[in-house]
Symmetry: C2
């Protein structure tokens, strides 16, 4: 992927935001549905105090050498780096990594989760998948490949800390329609295929998984990880999850 | 156009908003540029107190029998109707007209500006083109056809009250690029070709003119109308204009 290429819509959004704009993040689903994913891109630059309770609770489980997967503008990495942890921030967007570097993140690397083995760090203690980035596990099948791989790259006491959204917590007729369409084509209901749109830029299609608690438990089973803790808040769709090795 | 058809993206946005949603209005330019036109669709439902100073000043020039061109959710029509004026609200969006009818506008008619002669009312005293709807004049050529037509449908003391945006009041690199592209293809800089996107719906392409004060003066000259007054606020792009017959 070229640095700041025509498909780095997400990175350009972050870069524009870093330069002072505060616009919405727009995503397009593969059924043509267009929506505002994030009203203010500044959310990607938010401080700890502005995060959801779920995230503020979950981040406390981070320790040691941390991999921040899909780091975006680096809000979680910055928080942990300031607290003295060794953070490796990775993202598949060239401009996201540039933003992270500009913001002072010491180890920001252009790398998609699929190629994390190429990072060549010593054993990781924490894998962080914040901002619903458990979704980057992509699908049942992809998650079943990636979770064992993360198992191999991490220390015996390592944790995965992530957030996702329960897709069934929605009142949107269109979201429910999309779930049904997904099932008909053999995908999980919350297995979104989406791309970011920003100005004239169109991002690459990405599979991004929203999954309920039982669905995540089924995905995790037998991968070397177990669900240690779930952090929910009332009936909110977003929840955090701490996985540990067994 | 079918009532609530697949191309009534704008109307569906207003209808969803009328039913309680508050989402952004998204527009796409014909160069592929996608942007948030209105952060909150509730803006289309706003009361007088929430309008710009330009609009609050300009609306006071309305009197008699009023044609509200591109009425949207009918905010201006409702305001004038409550003050006892006879308001005819027209829009080319079937669902916009449905929203107006639900909101109690007595004379809301599905009709594009181009077919305004078909309305068959007695002589109009005021033609209102609010919410930047002077833009519905579309282009230099189209405006030169429409303004004399409006002249013929209106009383001798009639006024056109409208707002538009000065396209040159922008810092956006992309907007400036679009202006240059427009000039290269023989259009005025601010002659936007755009369509509304809402969820899966894609509106029809519409020519929508943003013009500076000198440009509007050039358009108006010799059409039977003269610029009676301009209402600006500081260096803001939006301005209002009162046209009268001469």
């Amino acid at each position: 992927m070229k640095r700041g290429g025509a498909d780095d819509a997400f990175g350009q959004l972050l870069w524009d935001c870093h330069r002072g704009a505060d616009v919405a993040e727009l995503i397009e689903l593969d059924d043509g549905y267009l929506e505002v994913a994030t009203t203010h891109c500044k959310t990607y630059f938010s401080d700890f105090e502005e995060w959801s309770v779920q995230e503020r609770t979950a981040i406390k489980f981070a320790r040691g050498r941390v991999l921040d997967v899909g780091c975006g503008a680096g809000r979680a990495s910055l928080y942990l780096q300031k607290r003295g942890l060794e953070v490796w921030a990775i993202d598949s967007s060239p401009l996201a990594i540039k933003v992270c570097q500009h913001r002072g993140i010491k180890r920001a690397v252009l790398l998609p989760l699929e190629r994390v083995a190429g990072l060549g760090t010593a054993r990781l203690d924490t894998v962080l998948m914040f901002g619903n980035n458990l979704g980057l596990l992509g699908s049942y099948e992809k998650a079943r490949r990636l979770l064992p791989r993360l198992h191999g790259l991490t220390a015996p006491t390592a944790r995965i800390i992530g957030t996702t959204r329960d897709p069934y917590v929605t009142k949107s007729r269109e979201h429910k329609e999309y779930h049904r369409w997904n099932r008909r084509r053999g995908r999980m209901a919350g297995e979104l295929r989406l791309r970011v749109r920003h100005k004239k830029l169109i991002g690459p299609w990405v599979d991004y998984l929203f999954a309920s608690e039982p669905e995540v438990r089924r995905i995790v089973a037998g991968t070397g990880w177990r669900v240690e803790r779930i952090v929910r808040r009332g009936a909110e769709a977003q929840y955090a999850m701490i996985l540990e090795k067994y």
